[in-house]
Symmetry: C2
Subunit: 342 residues, 2 copies
DNA sequence: CCTTTCTTTGCAATCGTTTTCGATAGATTA
DNA sequence: TAATCTATCGAAAACGATTGCAAAGAAAGG
């Protein structure tokens, strides 16, 4: 029952007038007489006429559609960003096509080409980890399509960017521990060849130095997953009696550390205060509830979409690009209240 | 620098032949001489010609695009479903437009109309909680667009559906507790006017009766959030000495219950075994790790998309609809090992 | 050498809409 | 009465691609 939707031609035929008149009548063109307008508009209403967006797009080369390319959807930060993008898109009348690369470079290339082929008005990208060649991004620009990177940006392409400030987030987290009275703070770190690992560790060190505390590599333990914490349980516990605070590179690591401490007789936060780095909604579930810095995925998505719209609708200057940096925000809960018993 | 992409007409003009010949040459039509084909194809390759998907869609009334309408993106289950949808879509050459209603009926109506206007080939919907009028779904069908519901289905529209079996999931969870030796099992339940609340409680009761245990409303406590567990701490603890198992309607409730038990001197799972119902990745983070039943969002998304493609490509029979039911799977962890000390 | 057949190509219509440029009235003005 | 103006509408091209049909030329058969 492939029913064919009503077109302007259909209306014209039934009403015995030309398609051009119908078109003009529907959009209140001054050339059309009030009688004809009335006739056309009420009839269109009656048959529930809806313009064919494809035809409009083809003619105007404007699709009111944008593309989103991300490594994975099932990731709290990314889905939060998408949500922010989608809400702005909706409010401005854009549709969003979503493409997930699964960290696959080839798929990223194909996804971008598909978006170009569909003539999207703009593209939002968070790069795959395995992308080391950038001509597919340049290809987008060469097709005259604005592109905005978020979170996993591409340095090689000069365009708008929106990122979270990992350095500052880590600094805020560490300074918070210091303000709670911590003097010797351990850092559970991610690999230093990853940007987040490097930046968060440097933020941690920066805060320590700012307060005349030494940034000692002996207090930096390389573990950034729940499993790796358990694997390094002995190392962590051997240091535990010497420390009064832990800053972990992410929340699940922080929570695992708390659990390791607890089952070895330490009290969190009485003996040791703990702060994480927000990567999901799990901080609330932890016991004690975890103090953490939260990456503002929703506003990052909104900002990226707004920047993109600026270039699509040319309210922004063509060749002037901007990098927006969002600093994570401290969410203080129980785990960092050094000295307090829970 | 709104650069205009190369079209078939451009190629025709440069090569001094007609657009029709170019079109046929590009798709190896037998009518075209080998020489011409070679000429056109190498030239198209050289200038990186790409067909305009809009023009193709307009002509063929096939967009190779589907729409996804969901209440919210930032929800582990939904983002997992989207991921499953997107992976199938990608493998079959479809693009996915994503629309988030934020549980808003009006927005659902507008989103669906926008998808119709854009002539998507099919639509996947999980209804908003506030939708009690269904003519916008019927409108989709009237436009000849296949629609598949998942999770939050609409009974009023006869079409394909994909759902998770809450009743059976709850039954499996409860039977697991019984198999671990539990005799008196508490249920933390969601409101009974919600389908998941009703179905999961009934599954719980069914398992009890199957094993000649009584399904006693005294052991059913109405709380389905972390906060409500803490609010009912006294009630739960007053019953705790009398029970040896808890089945909670979701994971965060289960985890909160474990924490309440622990700080009141109970050992989980030694004294009381606990099982949750999967709504995210938090079960792994809990202490002890939470046994739960996991809703298979990814395969639900895949199944929904496959059903939709069946109707789009008419490999499925037009008027015969199917309801696929996926039973959650028990993921056994530590929290349910009654009698064991951790 | 003429007719037939086959190969290869182009014309034009189509998808649904917008928009430029006229065109045809009737009304107004000189 | 003739000329100009205004109001209202339609024809046709355009967006980029596909495709049925016609036509031109070449090859083949008689």
């Amino acid at each position: 029952m492939k029913s064919h939707p009503i077109t302007i031609k259909d209306i014209a035929r039934v009403l015995g007038i030309s398609p051009s008149t119908v078109s003009r009548a529907l959009k209140d063109h001054p050339d059309i007489s009030p009688k004809t307008k009335q006739l056309v508009q009420t009839f269109a209403e009656k048959v529930n006429y809806r313009p064919n967006a494809l035809a409009l797009s083809l003619r105007s080369s404007k699709t009111n559609t944008i593309g989103i390319v991300i490594p994975e959807i099932v990731h709290h930060f990314f889905s939060t960003v998408i949500s922010g993008i989608e809400d702005i898109a909706y409010s401005k009348g854009y549709n969003a096509i979503i493409c997930q690369t699964n960290e696959n470079y080839q798929r990223e290339v194909i996804d971008l080409q598909a978006l170009i082929d569909n003539r999207v008005d703009g593209i939002l990208v968070s790069m795959s980890k395995n992308t080391h060649e950038f001509s597919h991004f340049q290809n987008v620009r060469d097709n005259g399509i604005p592109i905005v990177f978020f979170d996993r940006i591409c340095e090689a392409i000069s365009t708008d960017r929106v990122i979270a400030d990992d350095f500052e987030g880590a600094r805020i987290a560490t300074k918070h521990l210091i303000s709670k009275g911590c003097k010797k703070i351990m850092h559970l770190s991610a690999p230093q060849h990853l940007l987040i690992g490097k930046n968060r560790k440097e933020g941690y060190c920066s805060a320590l130095k700012e307060h005349q505390l030494q940034c000692n590599d002996q207090l930096v333990v390389k573990c950034d997953t729940r499993e790796s914490v358990f694997a390094k349980e002995d190392e962590i516990i051997s240091l535990a009696s010497d420390i009064d605070g832990i800053f972990a590179v992410n929340d699940s690591t922080a929570i695992a550390a708390m659990q390791v401490l607890q089952r070895n007789g330490y009290n969190v936060p009485k003996d040791i205060a703990v702060v994480g780095f927000g990567d999901g909604p799990i901080a609330d579930i932890a016991y004690p509830p975890l103090t953490t810095v939260e990456q503002k995925g929703y506003v990052i998505g909104q900002a990226a979409m707004n920047l993109l719209i600026g270039h699509i609708e040319e309210t922004a200057i063509e060749s002037e690009f901007e990098t927006k940096i969002f600093t994570p925000e401290l969410v203080e809960r129980t785990s960092s209240q050094l000295g307090k018993t829970i």
